[in-house]
Every structure is written in C-alpha cells, then in structure tokens.
C-alpha cells in the first residue's frame, strides 16, 4: 500500500510517501510496524493521540481495519480555514 505523510509527520519521517508491504490488519498494527523502521518513525509515531489518519482518503480511527486499503495517510490535526 501507499503510505503518505503530511506536515510535521512528513518532516520527521523525511519523505512525503512510500510504498509499504504489510500484513497489518489495523491502522495500529501498521503504526507498530512503521515505528520499528527506525528512530525517525519512532519519533513521528511516538504519540498517536497527536495524529490523525485517513484510509483511502477517508478520516478514520487508529483501530480501523485496513482490509484492502490502497492508501493510508498520517498527519497532525488539520488547521484549515
């Protein structure tokens, strides 16, 4: 699947998106796998309560199933308007 990062999540991880092979069943499981990729990831995902997630462009929660998700995006709370 494609994993996208925005705002300071993108900056901490150091890239805007990447292709990730994963058998994670939920967003949380995917986060666990990403954390193990190294310090930058561990730092970016240190506190998921400060993060938001969208699966296939729909806002959802960290316990959401991934099913056949093609795109998962992580970002801080939005500050539009």
């Amino acid at each position: 699947m494609q994993v996208l990062y925005f705002a300071w999540v993108r900056e901490r991880i150091g890239l805007p998106k990447e292709c990730v092979e994963s058998d994670a069943k939920t967003v949380s499981e995917l986060v666990e796998e990403l954390r193990s990729r190294g310090e930058r990831y561990a730092l970016a995902f240190a506190d998921t309560s400060a993060l938001r997630v969208a699966v296939d462009q729909e806002l959802t929660s960290f316990d959401a199933p991934l099913d056949n998700a093609r795109e998962v995006a992580f970002f801080p709370p939005m500050t539009g308007g």
Binding site: R10, A54, Q57, L59, M78, T79, G81
Partner: protein
C-alpha cells in the same frame, strides 16, 4: 455546491457578486473570508500544505452535510494552498438561503468543519524560523454545537 481548491489568489468581491447572481431568489447571502494575519515576531509568509487526493472530496462531504441540514440555494467554498503572505486571502465560504438564519448557520458550520476536518496544514515562517500552526482546542470544541 461548488468547491475550488487552488494555488492562485482570488478576488473576493468578484466571487461574492457572481455567487449572489447565481443564487437568485435567495434573500440572504453570507460570506466568510479568511485572511493571513501577521503574527508576533513578524510573519514572512505562510505555507499551506494539503492532501490533494482527499481535499476536494472532504470539502464536498462537508458541503453535503450542510446542504442536508439547511435549505440552501447555494454554497461555495474556495481554499488556497501554497505560499501566502500577510494580508492575502486564504479561503472563502459563501452560502445563500431564503432567510438569514440558515445562511449564517450553514456558513459557520462549513467554517467549523473546514477548520478541523479538511486536510490542510498551515506553517508560519518568521525571521526566527518556521513552525506548524497547532490546532486550537476551541476549534475542536466548536464542532460539538452541531
């Protein structure tokens, strides 16, 4: 129900006039214009990042909610991304309805949801560095009234 996500600036007055003409039959047109404010320390510019694949659909979903809650004759959202300097217009929301209550409430609803549910992130660049704007707890609380 129109959504425009764009890098370019826009002429708020022209947008208002075109919107009012297209929403003929309405007695009430409300517009909200968001403008880049200066900040303590002096803002050089603001950078607005967004999630292109999601932005349009997310705003359309917010508009659809507004249209289902209020009898609107029209509704328009413009939101810019990219680099903006103080005084520039960031975004605009317009609503048209028979009576003022619906037009005001729908515009406030759209603003409240755009603030916290549309995938935009603001970064402020000052002389002393750059930092991401943090979401305000009031903005999250504002959603509870709806």
């Amino acid at each position: 129900m129109v959504v425009r996500v764009q890098k370019d600036s826009f002429d708020a007055g022209q947008v208002l006039n075109e919107f009012s003409s297209s929403a003929s039959g309405s007695g009430a047109v409300v517009s909200f214009t968001g403008i880049v404010r200066n900040v303590a320390g002096g803002l050089k510019h603001m950078e607005i990042e967004h999630y292109p694949a999601m932005t349009q659909a997310a705003i359309e979903a917010i508009e659809a909610q507004a249209v289902s809650r209020w009898e609107l004759d029209g509704c328009l959202v413009i939101h810019r991304f990219g680099k903006l300097v103080p005084g520039e217009q960031i975004m605009m929301v317009l609503t048209a309805a028979r009576h003022r209550a619906a037009a005001f409430e729908a515009a406030e609803y759209l603003m409240d949801y755009l603030k916290s549910r549309a995938p935009f992130w603001k970064k402020e660049v000052t002389e002393s560095g750059a930092q991401w704007v943090e979401a305000r707890s009031q903005d999250e609380e504002a959603l509870r009234r709806w």
